[in-house]
């Protein structure tokens, strides 16, 4: 276990919400913490891994992470797990039973909702899981609260013997603020008590426990009515009283400094009676919540008149500008156009794959194929849906490429009869949820070619380790999965499994053509590391001999961000057809010499440059 010393207590620390949660988890005397990386929650475990005296791991998925945490809690240890919102969907099967068994050692589940959807396939309000599972939900509003509420969550969990959900949002996880931290508590696990009626959830044991769950919910509700985590801020302008939680609280205070506010920290179950009293002190009540009208509905059901999503946006963040508009609407005011410059229309700048990414060649090859249906998956692979490749036809959820591809195969009619079905998935995603899908493909004799892009990392979230990298969260060597053998075990014929180098385009193209022709499940495994991880070794960069370049633009189609078009032209062919020409230059300081662009260049215009100072991709580019 790496043990870089944690920062000293009582200092004024500048921490992101994720860092603040990690600090508090450590201080709470936690012994076990597990997670699967996912934006915006990833850094919690990365930071926690550097603290001493606790066990931390990347798990293969969120359900496993939650189960690991529960196991630790069973033996009386304090335990923690973290995930992003869609991760809780995966973990929900375990969650819905844990709410029945309850916990022993304090167990806190941090769930980070990607409100505003910076990098997720959907926007989802995890507070619903609190209602669904009858669990308490805490909602911090900034780093200091993320720290304090994480500590409070462990205490709450142990008092009520329940898992506690700590609901974070992007604007908590990735906002830095000043935090005053404390010391680590010494908490000794109480030990495991055999009690099958509690831990073995067969119907006969589970049924008598259900009423206990509702008793607990009632007790937490009483706690919520009196908890200091739920408080009122007085205000002189009583026309509108705000009820809010999470970062929306900060936005409300910023936008309406004179208004009374009821701030919910322990927001589930909600303190309905305190809110009723508050409502009586203001002319009207506005519920400001991200993202669903959850509390609004509960208040209305309790007979408390309020406004909410009738005047506020239904999706995304509720920053001060959105609030001003909503409140003006509520007051029936006409909103004056603010007097600032309107945004300029500038080209979009979507994220793209890194210079020399091993997936570039795969997507280039796929983009050259005709008559294919390509089921994609989560991760950097999704970037293949963008320009210039446009080489993905779907992306649903973690691991879904397998099932989707099988469904396309089995469901196709005459029009698609001649098409090949390809599924693209990454190493980490495959182990997270893809393996079961592949098993289904082989079992049901699907005609699918699987591209398993092994880059030995969870690329999209920043290159974290997984069982395919042969290292754990601490960078220490461990078992490395053999994907070829794994696929074979899942039922793919040995001769239908190929391992190849994604930088060798002709080999890749040939393999794809052959495998898609054969009407049975096949797997092409590409094996090159992500350029973001330490183990990636750049080689000598290339440059373009400008007198040899014909402007064909083939290298541009590879999609490497180090290739720049410096001049465009048009040429009229002998046939009378007009073609566009793009003359290029390679940004030698960014190029890592992967050699992908060299291969489609017929006139051999791309040659090795003299060695230059090695640099990270995407640094400043000279004019």
């Amino acid at each position: 276990m790496s043990a870089s010393q944690p920062v000293p207590a009582a200092a004024r620390l500048f921490l992101s919400g994720n860092e603040a949660v990690a600090r508090a988890v450590w201080e709470a005397g936690t012994r076990v913490a597990a997670a699967y990386p996912g934006t915006p929650s990833t850094e919690i475990l990365e930071v926690l891994a550097k603290y001493p005296d606790l066990y931390t791991e990347w798990s293969v998925n969120e359900k496993v992470a939650l189960e690991v945490a529960l196991g630790a809690s069973m033996v009386g240890a304090r335990a923690f797990c973290a995930m992003k919102h869609v991760g809780l969907n995966v973990a929900s099967d375990a969650l819905m039973t844990m709410t029945v068994t309850g916990t022993e050692g304090g167990l806190v589940i941090a769930v980070a909702d990607d409100v505003g959807m910076s990098s997720s396939q959907n926007e989802q309000d995890s507070r619903y899981w609190g209602r669904f599972a009858h669990l308490p939900v805490l909602e911090p509003a900034d780093s200091q609260e993320a720290y304090a509420m994480t500590r409070a969550a462990f205490a709450l969990s142990e008092r009520f013997r329940t898992p506690v959900i700590l609901r974070l949002t992007t604007r908590i996880c990735h906002v830095k603020g000043v935090v005053v931290a404390g010391e680590r508590e010494a908490v000794e696990p109480g030990g495991f008590t055999k009690d099958p009626r509690r831990w073995v959830m067969v119907p006969g044991n589970a049924k008598p426990r259900l009423p206990l769950m509702f008793e607990r919910e009632a007790a937490v509700r009483a706690e919520a009515e009196n908890s200091p985590l739920n408080f009122r801020v007085d205000g002189s302008d009583r026309r509108i009283g705000f009820v809010t939680s999470g970062p929306a609280f900060m936005h409300v205070r910023e936008a309406f400094p004179d208004a009374p506010v009821f701030k919910l920290g322990l927001s589930c179950p909600p303190p309905i009676e305190s809110l009723r009293e508050f409502a009586a002190t203001v002319d009207s009540l506005l519920v400001v919540e991200e993202t669903e009208p959850l509390l609004e509905t509960e208040l209305k059901a309790a007979g408390i008149a309020c406004h909410g999503k009738d005047v506020l946006p239904r999706t995304g963040e509720l920053a001060p500008d959105a609030l001003h508009l909503g409140v003006a609407r509520l007051r029936g005011e006409v909103v004056a156009e603010p007097e600032h410059v309107v945004p300029q229309q500038v080209f979009p700048r979507p994220p793209t794959m890194c210079v020399a990414c091993p997936h570039l060649g795969v997507y280039y090859t796929l983009s050259q194929m005709r008559n294919v249906m390509i089921a994609g998956d989560i991760g950097c692979y999704t970037l293949g849906a963008g320009h210039p490749w446009n080489a993905l036809d779907s992306c649903i959820s973690m691991g879904a490429s397998m099932g989707t591809a099988l469904g396309m195969d089995k469901g196709r009619g005459k029009v698609d009869a001649n098409k090949k079905v390809v599924a693209v998935i990454g190493d980490s995603t495959f182990m997270h949820m893809g393996m079961q899908g592949l098993l289904d493909i082989t079992w049901n004799r699907g005609n699918v070619t699987v591209l398993l892009l092994d880059n030995r990392a969870v690329g999209m979230t920043g290159g974290q380790d997984n069982p395919g990298s042969g290292r754990d969260l601490h960078g220490e060597e461990t078992t490395r999965v053999d994907f070829a053998k794994l696929c074979e075990a899942l039922g793919v014929k040995k001769e239908r499994i190929r391992v190849l180098d994604p930088y060798q385009l002709p080999v890749l193209f040939k393999a794809l053509r052959e495998e898609t022709k054969i009407e049975e499940p096949s797997v092409i495994i590409t094996d090159r590391p992500c350029v973001l991880i330490d183990h990636y070794v750049p080689t000598k960069p290339y440059l373009v001999k400008e007198d040899r370049c014909t402007g064909c633009g083939n290298c541009v189609d590879v999609g490497c961000p180090a290739i720049h078009v410096i001049r465009r032209d048009k040429e009229v062919k002998a046939s009378g057809k007009e073609v566009d020409l793009s003359f290029v230059r390679i940004d030698t300081s960014a190029c890592t010499g992967c050699g992908l662009c060299v291969q489609p260049c017929a006139p051999e215009a791309i040659i090795h440059a003299e060695p230059v100072q090695p640099l990270q991709p995407m640094q400043f580019v000279r004019k």
Binding site: K176, D321, H340, V341, F347, R349, P351
Partner: protein, 202 residues
């Protein structure tokens, strides 16, 4: 200073926008301010758009700067500075690296890069100081010094002495690699000289 100061730093993923903002934040913290910093970025790694919001003052509530409320815009890339120009308040100032980073969507001919982003900003009535921070950094021997050059350029417009920011820069690099201290000091001063002679309107 009773009000909150709002600084928006923008650029392209990978340029060091977040590190620069972090250093600005450290300077403000060392002076005892309440500070909040947030990124507004759609998949900021992999060459996407990055904006980093920094707010400091006696008490900071929301971490976000609203359109028309930034006191200063530090643009690490020309077109990005233009994209975020509307965030400036009247009288605010933009410090812009005239260097360009052209994305693949422009390379493949789907969109055009604006011909004169800085001129376009000026036409909109914004106060802009532009200079080629990239070229300066390259002259100083390492393209990565662009970061420090931009911070140096911003230092005389801050509501605290430039030395506080310079010390924060040097502390950051000095703690990692002592031999980087001198070259960063030089880069900081070069950036400062590049836009010398003006101060922020109250």
């Amino acid at each position: 200073m009773s009000k909150v100061t709002n600084i928006l730093v923008c650029g392209v993923g990978g340029q060091g926008v977040m590190t620069a903002t972090e250093i600005l934040a450290e300077a403000a913290i060392s002076l005892g301010f309440d500070v909040k910093k947030t990124e507004v970025a759609g998949m900021s790694q992999r060459g996407g758009v990055v904006t980093s919001h920094l707010r400091f003052g006696p008490e900071v509530l929301s971490p976000q700067i609203l359109p028309g409320e930034a006191d200063m815009l530090i643009g690490f890339e020309s077109a990005e500075a233009l994209r975020w120009g509307h965030m400036l308040r009247p009288g605010g100032v933009a410090l812009v690296n005239s260097g360009r980073i052209v994305p693949p969507v422009v390379n493949i001919g789907l969109f055009d890069y604006p011909e004169q982003p800085v001129a376009q900003m000026c036409e909109l009535g914004l106060r802009v100081h532009d200079f080629d921070a990239t070229a300066l950094a390259v002259q100083l021997g390492n393209i990565r010094l662009g970061n420090t050059v931009m911070l140096g350029a911003s230092s005389d417009w801050l509501p605290f002495p430039a030395e506080v920011l310079r010390d924060a820069v040097l502390a950051r690099f000095g703690s990692r690699k002592p031999k980087l201290v001198d070259v960063n000091r030089e880069a900081f001063e070069a950036g400062r000289r590049a836009v010398a002679g003006e101060t922020l309107a109250a």
